[in-house]
Amino acid sequence: MTRLLRSFSFRLTLTYAGLFCLSVALLISAGYWLRVTLPMDRARQLVDDEYHQFRAAYLARGMEETRIALDRRASHAGSRKAFHALLRPDGHVVSANLPSWPAKPLGQLTIIEADTFVDGTEIDHNALVSDHLLPGGARLMIGRDVEDITDDAETLRTAAIWIFGVTVMLGLSGGWLMSLAIGRRIEAVTLAARQVMDGDLAGRVQVRGTNDDFDRLGETLNLMLSRIQSLFSAVQSVSDNAAHELRTPLARLIGRLETLEQIAGDDPAMRIAAGAAIVEANRLQQILSALMRISRLENGRHPLELQRTDVIQLLEDIVEFYQPEAERLGMELVVSARRPLVADLDLDLVFQALSNLLDNALKHGAGKGRRIELAAARTREGLHLSVQDDGPGLDPGDGERVTQQFYRGRSSACLPGDGLGLSMVAAIAHAHGAALEFAASEPGLRVSLVFP
């Protein structure tokens, strides 16, 4: 419901329905004024005038003359049927064609029901009556039929209720339908954008072919995406080619250095220099292949090979692999997880990621008696794999920067590494759609991968 209310198109239709209701209200009021207020005012004026006329006649010529004049008025066929009643001060009726009246004069213009019977049929009348006591105690009632006006008023009131009701209903349902229709079109754009964000640059907005506004928007976005894709693949192929083309010369370089090492023969200084150069060249090659691998993972060109994995076996394998190093450093590796725990993972990649994390934990949290815990658990968010050390933790301010390529925290300046380990972990997490989280855990650091 809140989503519907937040929907722009729904609010737009609601506003439109509101405006429409307002205009309908104006129209109805105008009709009411024309058909009810105006004629009623005229009738009021007429009755008032007539009353004063007959009052004057009564005062000037007396009861009998007035009765005759009233009877003549009653028999006269006018546009509005005339009603009257003349009562003596003792309540005796002198003349009346009103069927009934209130016991006491109301002293103002009142609408009185005045149904008449003609040949046994009831005819509805509503009389607008001016009802006053005359000097001397006689009571004079002068009225005119306003049945048509009150009918109109009634009809207009009923119509207004229905029209408002239907307008509001149509407005709401129209708004709902419109937000649904527009929402669906916008969803297509969102979907395509998400697909592209997830690394699939081939994602496109679905176009209906009706050439409407949304189609044109979609086509424009698609053109933009195509352009981005072609630019991206141009950049990609340049960097891929560069990385590739670097490999062969690097292979030759290592070859030449190996030859140099052999030629050096008995000269130990030369041999050491050549050996050191080979080590550096190998490092260069490692950085190069790590970079290529990260870029392939990040833009989704490394196909995942998911397989049903015993997660605990995986953790035990990695702990077993690092066990001798941990023993050398006097550290303890612990697996904390409960069987059964299976998940669909790319084994090689997840092993690589955990290996990088464990490697970091061993490097940064090094110290005798320290402990590293590898934990796995399934929660509502998904599968948590975490590596927790009790080392110094992240430098404040390092935050998410640690996953940037070649970024190295201040405290790691004197440790070996090339600043690609966590970038690789982040790329592997991204390829799996997993989240990489860093949390300070007094003391130390817990790095978690959360697989959905």
Binding site: H244, R247, T248, L250, A251, R252, L253, I254, G255, R256, E258, T259, G275, I278, A281, N282, Q285, Q286, S289, A290, M292, R293, R296, H302, P303, E305, D317, E320, F321, Y322, P324, E325, E327, R328, L347, D348, F351, Q352, S355, N356, D359, L362, K363, P416, G417, G421
Partner: protein
Amino acid sequence: MQILLVEDDAALAAHIMAGVREAGHVVEHCCDGRDALVRATCETYDAIVLDRMLPTLDGLKLLAALRATDDATPVLILSALGDVDERVKGLRAGGDDYMAKPFAMSELLARLESLARRNAPVAENASLLRIADLEIDLASHTVTRAGRRIALTLRELRIVAYLARNAGRVVTRTMLLENVWDYNFDPQTNIIDQHISKLRHKIAAEHETNLIHTVRGVGYMMREQ
């Protein structure tokens, strides 16, 4: 050994040929895919070193064509495409081993030796391996030295067995990693050395001779002296 080298980069080919010749092998060079396929099917080699990106015929297609003729010559693929999935692609296409460029000559030689031996019917499937007074019984998972039983983990047993199968030949760290561990990954630090040193201590008691020797800059070798 008779080795066919299929590589279109002249400088790299010259370097490989020099290295392989120095190790005492006979090597023929071929820089074109089609030409290489003709030679590989007509003559018998102990091993083929194959580049993937070649003029006229792609290395993997060449390999597929070769395997289609029931030719089981060991093939070592040597490629600039070094990522894990490319490696898997190469091995699935029928390659026996895969190396990414750039590589160390010593690594290439070690792998070639190991590959060529794989074809020889030497104790490959035997369940009892014997080096000096060390006996490895793969069927019962027991390792004994001079009658003394040595307790090893399953992984250590696999390391010893791999070294023993390649006794007298160099085994590089990456070869160990690929063959003993079931994961394809790059450890950032050299953990393999720690495993070997631990294993060495278990196998050689104080007075006994060391059987696992370090070959400087290359890897390890298991031999009697």
